[in-house]
């Protein structure tokens, strides 16, 4: 457990060693606000809630989260530092979890920095702050889901740019798994239970359920299992390919 914390701290500090972290935070905040006010029509709706803000998170995350996760392992392999890390007395699992938690903490920081919107909406009206909190939790879980996929993408290659693009593609598949776009491809031949299974794998269904303010245990289990599975896959891939 201590090792996980040590690895997480190092990784988190290293985000801020390059301008990447600041650029990411800036772009995230600008886009999140732009989407909320222009696409979401925050003022025009005349309602004191943050729905226009949260509605666009999945699409914003789709491009920004793989940028956070792309360097996690690709950079370690490119620079060779993975050989140092993996020959210190730490387990692969501690390293995978520590790095994932660092990336997660970083995205949580980005979400925390959107607090002016929350202040604004509270100043303008009296929103349901419980629902807003639930939606934030939904966003945090969605980010974790994307990050676990991005972590696997990063483990597959030595090139962060490749990890970024593969990460976006994989995240997109999971994001729209509940959409007709994907389901129709299965409907023609697959039995109904399989269509339902694929549909329920989609991020959006679970994210929207939580954003509506309903935190269902099943949605939490969904995210927990999905993240665990992708982190396990990351560890397996690294075990096989770390020295290549």
């Amino acid at each position: 457990m201590r090792n996980v914390g040590i690895i997480m701290r190092r990784e988190l500090v290293s985000y801020f060693a390059t301008p990447l972290a600041y650029i990411f935070l800036l772009i995230f905040l600008v886009l999140a606000n732009l989407f909320t006010f222009y696409l979401g029509g925050f003022f025009e709706r005349g309602q004191a809630d943050l729905n226009p803000f949260f509605t666009y998170h999945p699409w914003l995350f789709l491009f920004l989260i793989p940028a956070v996760s792309m360097r996690l392992w690709a950079e370690e392999r490119r620079s060779g530092s993975i050989e140092l890390l993996m020959t210190l007395p730490v387990t692969l699992w501690q390293a995978v979890v520590g790095k994932f938690l660092a990336a997660w903490a970083f995205t949580i920081l980005a979400l925390v920095l959107t607090f002016p919107l929350w202040i604004t909406v509270n100043y303008l009206g009296s929103p349901d702050n419980g629902a807003i909190l639930a939606a934030y939790i939904g966003s945090v879980l969605l980010a974790a889901g994307f990050l676990s996929i991005g972590s696997l993408a990063s483990a597959l290659t030595r090139n962060p740019v490749v990890a970024f693009i593969v990460g976006i593609a994989a995240c997109f598949v999971f994001l729209v798994a509940g959409f007709p776009l994907v389901l129709d491809a299965f409907r023609g031949w697959a039995p109904q239970f399989l269509v339902d299974a694929v549909g329920s794998l989609g991020f959006l269904t679970h994210y929207e359920a939580i954003s509506k303010g309903v935190i269902d245990v099943r949605d939490l289990i969904y995210f927990g299992l999905l993240i665990t599975w992708f982190l396990l896959a990351t560890a397996v891939v690294l075990d096989v390919r770390k020295s290549e």
């Binding site: 190092r10 060693a17 060779g80 050989e83 210190l88 007395p89 730490v90 020295s243």
Partner: protein
């Protein structure tokens, strides 16, 4: 103590390391020699637990590197080839990071300062590692390998890329530390073997082709020169 039994690594059809068996006891400094691509680095990586063996076994201080990997690594100081590190970290942060993962506390923690002193890293503590010269980078790699005073040291080309003065310093350091430690260094600089090693193994095409003292090896040819022997064995 380091022990390998028929340690083998295959990549597809290529056998990088072929049934290598040897034992290195405390007090011995083993020079691992061989042409590039002979399997030196692969063998060291298996000992350090970075890659798994295809077959055979290896242990460090009695801990199997595969089944008891964490305990084996705790006994080991390892300098990977090229001394990789986190380029964006300062030397101080990097050494603290390794010390944290090695769980050095209290009196043991003071060794970090001693190692900084020993390797003369004072002047670069606040510099990021990517801005360092090759010589300093190598010294940072050595500092991280010896800071926990490990009973076993495995150094992959510790003097590669250093100038003659720095080479001399690193050799002195290895000689001073040797004492009761078990040390393996890989090199293709043969004078180094004379300078620091009590024993030399020459490896070619993944197999051990000679295992002797440096003097014993040199005496194999009338010229008495180690590099003639090296060439005659590995060519």
């Amino acid at each position: 103590m380091i022990k390998t039994e028929a340690l083998t690594k295959q990549y597809g059809d290529l056998t990088a390391v072929d049934a290598v068996s040897f034992t290195v006891s405390p007090g011995e400094v083993l020079g691992f020699l061989g042409p590039n691509g002979a399997g030196k680095t692969t063998t060291m990586r298996m000992l350090a637990g970075f890659i798994g063996a295809t077959s055979g076994r290896a242990s460090i201080c009695g801990h199997d590197v595969d089944t008891d990997s964490i305990a084996a690594r705790a006994c080991l100081g390892y300098l990977p080839e090229g001394a990789p590190a986190y380029g964006e970290m300062t030397v101080r942060d990097f050494l603290n990071f390794v010390a944290d993962l090695r769980h050095l506390r209290g009196a043991a923690r003071a060794r970090v300062e001693a190692v900084i002193e020993r390797l003369q890293l004072h002047g670069v503590l606040t510099q990021t590692i990517e801005t360092l010269s090759k010589g300093f980078r190598r010294r940072v790699g050595l500092a991280q390998a010896i800071m926990h005073d490990p009973p076993v040291l495995i150094l992959d080309e510790p003097t590669d890329g250093l100038d003659p003065n720095q080479k001399h310093e690193v050799r002195t350091l290895i000689n001073e530390m040797a004492g009761e430690k078990t040390v393996i260094i890989s090199t293709h600089i043969l004078e180094e073997v004379d300078a620091v090693c009590t024993r030399a193994i020459i490896i070619a095409h993944g197999r051990i082709v000679a295992d002797d003292t440096p003097q014993g090896l040199a005496a194999r040819l009338p010229s008495g020169r180690l590099d003639d022997v090296f060439r005659s064995i590995t060519a």
